[in-house]
């Protein structure tokens, strides 16, 4: 069981968190202008990187705040966590 460092509450057990998948996938500005295929990409397609991955977490049993993390999906190790208003981290 991992410790995840909530940017506010500090390290907590992973059971306190819920996973939100890939980070930095913004809701399209004008969905109506997208083709079906482009829309499908927004709705269904997320990166499934092996290795460093920018993803979203929510401290659901704590402060309920969403935050982002860079985590290695092969080792599960968190490289860093950052608040949503931090500038986008550069992912590999």
């Amino acid at each position: 069981m991992q410790l995840i460092a909530c940017p506010w509450c500090g390290p907590r057990e992973e059971v306190e968190f819920s996973y939100g998948g890939q980070a930095h996938v913004p809701y399209p500005d004008s969905p109506a202008e997208l083709s079906d295929e482009q829309w499908a990409h927004y709705v269904f397609h997320r990166d499934n990187t092996r290795g460093r991955f920018a993803e979203r977490w929510n401290h659901s049993a704590g402060c309920r705040r969403w935050f982002n993390a860079i985590r290695d999906t092969a080792t599960y190790r968190f490289e860093r966590v950052y608040r949503l208003d931090d500038p986008k981290s550069v992912t590999p």
């Binding site: 069981m1 991992q2 057990e13 992973e14 059971v15 819920s18 996973y19 998948g21 079906d36 295929e37 499908a40 990409h41 709705v43 269904f44 397609h45 997320r46 990166d47 499934n48 990187t49 092996r50 991955f53 993803e55 985590r71 999906t73 092969a74 080792t75 599960y76």
Partner: protein, 410 residues
């Protein structure tokens, strides 16, 4: 079926399994992934279509991924027509597979119970049973007293937290010995002249326009007429190399096994609400699966709280399991799709076929998808059984939503 005498009933493997060839520089068909699906596809290519200039490339050891890590449940009682059709096709092949492979795969049709614990579970269960019957899939709805007759150790008392309100039952469902299945396919494929190449990791693809001309591997470049991706949890690593976006997410899925026990559990029991699925395998060990870990992960390991929760559920549903012992835990990588159905079919590359997204259903589909995929490769057209599972469904919205329909996973 062999009698379950203590420990002695596992049949011996044959004296000869497969060749360990050096990869050739070119094949008509290159199958990436030497797991159950890849090996089954190879077998049916040879057997049904006479296509043997084929290589199966495995980055590790044959059938060492999910094929070695699953809980071996086989059933076809899925909700939607498209799903039950492919799984029922597989089940029919399972029923003749021991003979086909000439390998003692220990396919034991001991039935599967899917327990219902809430009124909505009951509705969903009846819906699935009725759909199964109309699709020609054996299925029954059992009341709690009938559940107890099929599996007396299930706690059907009404004063537990989530009492058993009934169950669906598929008598033809069951389990098989996974290594035996994989090795059976591997041996037949190898005997047919197909090269099973281990320790051969695909590191890239060579392309020419809308065609892939070959694969780059840790054992050199290999030209390919047709490429088939059968890499389960690692599919995205391959599709990333090809620049194809596939809507799957890879998650750890854990399983565990107890010590060998005298027979107490004659069937397979699955419970979605209380999150447990369990069978007692041939040697007597209880084999159980846990829920999918929530985060993406390629690490072939999960978090222990998932196991602890699984144990609580097991003891709640099977009080006699209290002093059974957890002997070993492990995890596989399941590739889950948005609608909990597989993704099989064409890719933007004319000669690359995709087969992934089986989530927790991959093992039970093994012969079915192997034969359908072999047919697809040989004919150049998606087999009717896989046609509904193409990538384009996410654009049109024509999903085959198995979790929406509360069909039990695994």
């Amino acid at each position: 079926m062999s009698p379950r005498t203590p420990g002695a009933d596992l049949p011996e493997h044959p004296d000869s399994l497969w060749r360990d060839p050096e990869p050739r520089r070119s094949y008509d068909v290159v199958i990436v992934g030497g797991g159950g699906h890849g090996l089954a596809t190879a077998h049916y290519l040879a057997k049904d279509h006479g296509i043997t200039n084929v290589a199966v490339l495995e980055k590790g050891w044959l059938a060492g991924g999910n094929m070695a890590r699953n809980t071996t449940i086989i059933r076809s009682n899925y909700l939607w027509d498209e799903s039950s059709a492919i799984y029922e096709h597989a089940l029919k092949l399972w029923e003749g597979l021991e003979e086909d492979l000439d390998y003692p795969i220990l396919f034991s049709q001991r039935g599967v119970l899917n327990l219902a614990h809430t009124l909505q579970d009951v509705r969903d269960s009846v819906r699935r049973v009725e759909a199964n019957k109309l699709n020609g899939v054996d299925a029954e709805w059992l009341e709690p007293d009938e559940v107890r007759k099929v599996c007396p150790v299930v706690n059907t008392s009404t004063d537990i937290r989530y009492p058993v309100l009934g169950a669906t039952y598929q008598p033809r469902a069951g389990i098989a010995k996974h290594d035996y299945v994989a090795w059976g396919f591997a041996r037949r494929a190898s005997d047919a002249g197909i090269d099973l190449v281990q320790d051969c990791e695909v590191t890239g693809f060579t392309t020419d326009g809308d065609r892939v001309t070959g694969v780059r591997t840790s054992r050199g470049d290999i030209a390919a007429g047709t490429v088939v991706l059968c890499a389960a949890g690692s599919t995205s690593v391959l599709t990333d190399m090809l620049g194809i976006r596939v809507p799957i997410q890879s998650h750890p899925l854990q399983a565990l096994v107890s010590e060998l026990l005298e027979p107490v559990h004659p069937t397979v029991v699955m419970s979605n609400a209380v999150h447990v699925y369990v069978s007692q395998a041939h040697k007597g060990e209880l084999v159980m699966g846990a829920g999918v870990d929530s985060y993406n992960g390629y690490g072939q390991r999960g978090a222990f709280h998932v196991i602890e929760r699984q144990m609580a559920a097991a003891v709640e549903l099977f009080p006699v399991f209290a002093r059974a012992h957890l002997l070993r835990t492990w995890a596989g990588i399941v590739d889950t799709s948005p609608d909990a159905s597989p993704i099989v079919g064409r890719t933007p590359y004319a000669n690359v076929w995709l087969n992934c997204g089986w989530g927790t259903g991959g093992f039970k589909a093994t012969p079915g998808i192997g034969s359908a995929l072999a047919h697809t490769i040989a004919s150049g057209e998606p087999h009717p059984l896989v046609a509904p599972f193409g990538l384009d469904r996410f654009t049109t919205g024509a999903l085959v939503d198995e979790h929406g329909a509360a069909a039990v996973a695994h």
